[in-house]
Symmetry: C2
Subunit: 344 residues, 2 copies
């Protein structure tokens, strides 16, 4: 796996993260506050629990959802304390879902660190995810406008339902590309959509702006999941900080694979199907190579870039500010990263 | 296990449930509405998910938390639509925690039916619990007073933290009785306390009444957990509808066992400790017999009855209505059930 794809990840995952983080320069101060507040959440728990909470919060990544909430806040008015609260809540929900995802996937590493389930086992991890989730939704009830907590809880519910549907459809070789989009819109993009929508809502932006930002978040989040799915096939294990090829081994059929299944002759399709169902290390490598050579990856890259182009157009409807440019730059960064997976 | 304790459960678990349900006669109409609304929640989910939701909601039991919310509603004013909403939300949270508990305990049956994990495996069950939880908290944001959803989310957070602490302290032979109470107040009684507290809060009862009802719910819920812990040691597997002795096999030290550990000589203590750590079928039986013969069960029964007496006294502070009597009768029913575990 690593050998096949190293050319796509010369700069390494860290550099990729840095490319995205460049778009955050505008909001570094506020992101720092969000980070502090996320860390301080552990103190809200019983001392017997706070160590687990700290660990789960610290390992959850790039803070993309907080960044989106803050940038939209700036682009639709001002970044106010409500945006920081929103950012914290969304990131805690994200952290909760990661803890449960890692149990389900049997993942032992995330961002180079042992996962909660690797460290403490599945029992503590199920409960840790629940704790984070309950705490996030408790924090969300602090908004004076109940509509905000309602939309956050609704997005969280979509995330969980999307995960169930994804699990049901594992190894389902009849999964349509439309079903794949539905799944990733629910399991991933719903939370990005809530970040952008509520970033505008908190500023009491006009309904059409709120709707446009929700759509922006949905498109950006969908593109982000496509990027993540490509990374699982063609990333660099050492730099990505997690086990690669796990989607295929677990029967998760992602866009590059669905594209080659769709474009194959019946005979090729039978061969690919058999490899997916066997799912051994060698089969996964074969599938990854097929996705790259037969244009599955290129098609996924094109789909991701199209979504990002649409998101950038939506951002153009906002007044010209540095934050609007920050949103566009965030899309451009992700577009660059996805682009690296295209066959050169 | 079954042989040892059959004398305590002659009438069977179903009859025990019926004894509690007698206290619900007053609120049968409203409980029927709650039941309908719980069942209808499944339709709020994606069609791919609703079958799981229906199954989890239907197997979750006696509807004690809804009954408490409704009785307190009647006893502090009128049972209004908000009480029905509260009842539905609390029962969904309870259903979510049961789904995750059954994964953690590796339980294959609950109330005579296969558990979600036995039916669909742990992956779907982790996500199913998450779905129920997210949906419950989403419903809770429909209350116009944000304080209600805040207190519900706070109780849910306590439940999860309590479960983590319980898991940490498995097989911890130094668990103090005070720690046991702290754990069960969090993992079980917090949701009962929220039911009773918010039942009064929705009626805009005076603060001292709200506080008294919270305390009522906490005491009743604690007594209920003590009953459930006794049942695990001395119940009747066929009628209880679940695997008994599982607390001991999983290293959960409950009140009857903690009492005999406390009252033992050092030599007896070493023997008991060794049996707990081995936790085989025969050891569990030995421990159950010890709990019965050495007064551990009697001490737990006394503790449960004391709490129920205190709860009844708190109910006496309310105006004399049939609902107040319903609350007192509910305490009396549970007292009768706990009483059956006392050595005759």
């Amino acid at each position: 796996m690593v050998r096949v794809v190293k050319s796509f990840t010369k700069a390494g995952q860290q550099a990729q993260d840095n490319r995205i983080k460049q778009s955050f320069e505008l909001i570094n101060t506020q992101l720092y506050s969000v980070e502090e507040r996320i860390r301080s959440q552990a103190r809200e728990f019983d001392p017997a629990v706070d160590g687990y909470i700290s660990y789960a919060c610290e390992s959850s990544g790039k803070r993309l959802r907080p960044a989106l909430a803050l940038l939209v806040g700036g682009a639709t008015g001002n970044i106010c304390p409500g945006h920081l609260d929103l950012a914290v809540v969304l990131e805690l929900i994200h952290a909760a879902t990661l803890v449960h995802d890692d149990i389900i996937d049997g993942a032992d590493k995330r961002r180079g660190q042992p996962t909660a389930n690797a460290k403490w086992g599945n029992t503590i991890s199920v409960l840790l995810g629940d704790c984070l989730f309950a705490h996030a939704l408790k924090l969300s009830t602090n908004f004076s406008n109940g509509e905000i907590s309602r939309r956050i809880a609704s997005a969280a519910s979509d995330v969980c339902s999307g995960e169930i549907i994804q699990t049901q459809r594992r190894f389902d070789l009849k999964l349509a590309i439309g079903d794949y989009y539905k799944i990733i819109e629910m399991k991933t993009a719903a939370l990005f959509a809530a970040a952008a929508e509520l970033g505008a809502f908190i500023n009491e932006a006009p309904p059409e702006v709120i709707a446009a930002m929700k759509s922006f978040g949905m498109k950006f989040g969908t593109a982000y999941q496509i990027y993540d799915d490509c990374l699982d096939i063609a990333g660099d294990e050492k730099n990505a900080g997690k086990t690669l090829g796990s989607d295929l081994r677990k029967g998760k059929l992602t866009l590059p694979i669905l594209h080659i299944l769709n474009a194959s002759t019946e005979a090729q399709r039978q061969g690919l199907s058999a490899a997916i169902l066997r799912g051994s290390g060698g089969d996964v490598e074969t599938l990854a190579v097929a996705a790259l050579r037969q244009g599955g990856m290129a098609a996924a890259v094109a789909a991701g870039r199209k979504l990002l182009g649409e998101a950038m157009n939506l951002a153009c409807e906002l007044p010209a500010t540095k934050y609007r440019e920050g949103l566009r730059d965030l899309c451009a960064s992700l577009g660059d990263l996805i682009g690296r997976f295209a066959m050169e």
